[in-house]
């Protein structure tokens, strides 16, 4: 059971939720902006790849992927759409892991670029870039927390399973209902979770 709505209602409520969060939790919002600025700096201004070095040339685009994923994640979570926020974080983790994988490897950078070129490339990519399996060695120890979040995001946000729906349930006088938006009480803690784990996403980019 759930309440029907129009797409215009959805867009308007999204905006209202976001504005309410921003004004109710100004310091938390500012912390999100601060992290956003760091991702922007990384992605847009501060990277100078060496020409002809394929892995270096690919990294600015991948950092943009990190930056945009962070922005999507924070805004969606503050809006009360935590499953989208968490899914965006999962994508951010993918970019971060792939950056770690191609660093100093022309061959892996080429594979990341050409993974859909042939069946062989698809299989090689699936084997060499598999998150979580190909990142469990000591070499990627600095990514271990990200792998845990990735696992969590897969279970609770990204895929079409019951655990994803758990955060959307409502008690309607004893009957089970669903809401498109999260319980407003839960939104600040979800945003806090985004901020608490931000360090894990930025640090690997810094060490590239």
């Amino acid at each position: 059971m759930y309440q029907s709505f129009t797409l215009s209602d959805f867009a308007e409520k999204s905006r209202a939720n976001f504005d309410r969060f921003r004004t109710s939790f100004p310091d938390t919002f500012l912390a999100g902006e601060s992290q956003n600025r760091l991702f922007n700096l990384l992605a847009e201004h501060l990277v100078i790849p060496k020409a002809g070095e394929l892995w270096q040339e690919e990294i600015p685009a991948m950092l943009f992927g990190c930056s945009s994923s962070w922005a999507h994640s924070f805004t969606a979570t503050a809006t009360g759409l935590d499953e989208h926020g968490t899914t965006s974080i999962r994508r951010l983790i993918e970019f971060t892991c792939y950056i770690a994988k191609i660093t100093r490897s022309k061959e892996k950078a080429k594979l990341w670029l050409n993974r859909r070129e042939s069946k062989e490339d698809r299989l090689r990519f699936a084997s060499q870039f598999a998150i979580r399996k190909s990142f469990l060695s000591e070499k990627y120890l600095h990514l271990r927390n990200l792998l845990v979040y990735y696992d969590h995001a897969s279970d609770f946000a990204t895929h079409a399973n019951l655990t994803m729906l758990a955060s959307k349930t409502l008690d309607l006088n004893g009957a089970l209902g669903f809401s498109v938006f999260d319980d407003p009480e839960d939104v600040p803690v979800s945003v806090g979770e985004r901020l608490r784990s931000h360090h894990g996403y930025l640090s690997p980019c810094f060490s590239t």
């Binding site: 500012l30 806090g192 931000h198 810094f206």
Partner: protein, 72 residues
Amino acid sequence: MKPLLREYDHLKSQFDSSQETLRKAKIELDKYYPHEKLTPEIREVIQAPNSYLDQKFEDLKKRYSDGKGSTT
């Protein structure tokens, strides 16, 4: 290896100063969620995030070494 980042020191200082905004956010959220309002699971994660993450990572590694792989 030379870092790819130009103005690395500037970026690092921005990164360090962002910790202050996080500290203020934590104070704000702590006021909204007094300790007793949190579920035991969330309290556990907040009190010992590293041991929680370490345990989860070990579970994940075991799952893959057992050949079970992804749960999804």
